[in-house]
Symmetry: C2
Subunit: 163 residues, 2 copies
DNA sequence: CGTGAAAGAAACGGTAA
DNA sequence: TTACCGTTTCTTTCACG
């Protein structure tokens, strides 16, 4: 598990453009960044191999897929031991309703971001997949009014990159 | 803002494959789904135009970009009025540290997922961008041990799709 | 929905700074 | 070592059956 990677202005420019639309062609990238298309290919390939780029993912609209309601579930797993939390996380990750799972500090051990069809679907999910389980001590449900994805993750400062 | 879209097994298969790797070629998609490449193009184009596919995004590793620490900030904004929360959300979204912002039901109005360089960077962020603001009544910080992205968002059931 | 052809992009070598 | 150029290979895209 490596540390930060040194990124020059060309890399940053490419990452910024690709975060907006990962299907941008190397030809178009080259025109906007001011280098040759093959250079873009070289840079992007390097960024993928170095792990900066984890993958190209499709962003879907859960509402269009019949999941118009999203919620966050705060879950306490007790006792909080590896033998219990390992299978718990794997089971939750495998649910089609789960979008993201966080393991957190603080009294609530896990936060699960879910997308469901409606209220009754959410109720079913909470009752059948969470509170019915022996290791789940408490579940707190919060509905999501709205969600905003933020801009590209840019490096903290134009200086000081530790290799 | 439309409701769900009717998706047949071919659409679902394509979405499942593309969620794993959005760069899969139509030729490879065709081979795995069992239709012609041009049919895959037709289907994917339709899915993009109907809004099921919101975009092709790059998944980056924040740790490799010098942001090895992630946290969730629960924020109370008081008074919770449009004149205050609108600018608040826009300001938070514009921070380079912000990954996602949720507007929630419950006592904590907003949940902000952030990625920072280290503890002192997190402290600076909380103090300078959150608690120093007049409209921010309370901030609760929880660190993220680990984060899991879950599988594709699949439609709820093989029946009952309302168009 | 499939076929086939044309336009276009990606990938790979070589080459020069 | 890194960027650029030109060619080959593959993909995308479109018109048509």
């Amino acid at each position: 598990m490596a540390e930060s990677v040194v990124l020059d202005p060309v890399d940053l420019h490419l990452l910024r453009l690709l975060q907006n639309d990962a299907r941008t062609t190397y030809r178009d990238l080259a025109a906007q960044v001011g280098v040759a298309p093959s250079t873009c290919l070289d840079r992007v390939t390097r960024l993928r191999r170095s792990g900066v780029i984890l993958g190209h993912r499709l962003e879907l609209d859960p509402a269009k897929l019949g999941r118009g309601l999203q919620a966050l579930l705060s879950v306490q797993v007790r006792p909080h031991r590896r033998e219990l939390v390992g299978p718990f996380v794997e089971r939750i990750r495998a649910l089609p309703e789960s979008l993201t799972v966080f393991h957190l500090t603080g009294p609530d051990d896990y936060l699960v971001h879910v997308a469901v069809a409606d209220m009754s679907d959410l109720q079913r999910l909470v009752l059948d997949e969470f509170t019915s389980q022996r290791e789940v001590a408490r579940v707190e449900t919060r509905l999501i009014f709205q969600r905003w994805d933020c801009g590209p993750v840019l490096p903290p400062s134009p200086s000081a990159q530790s290799g």
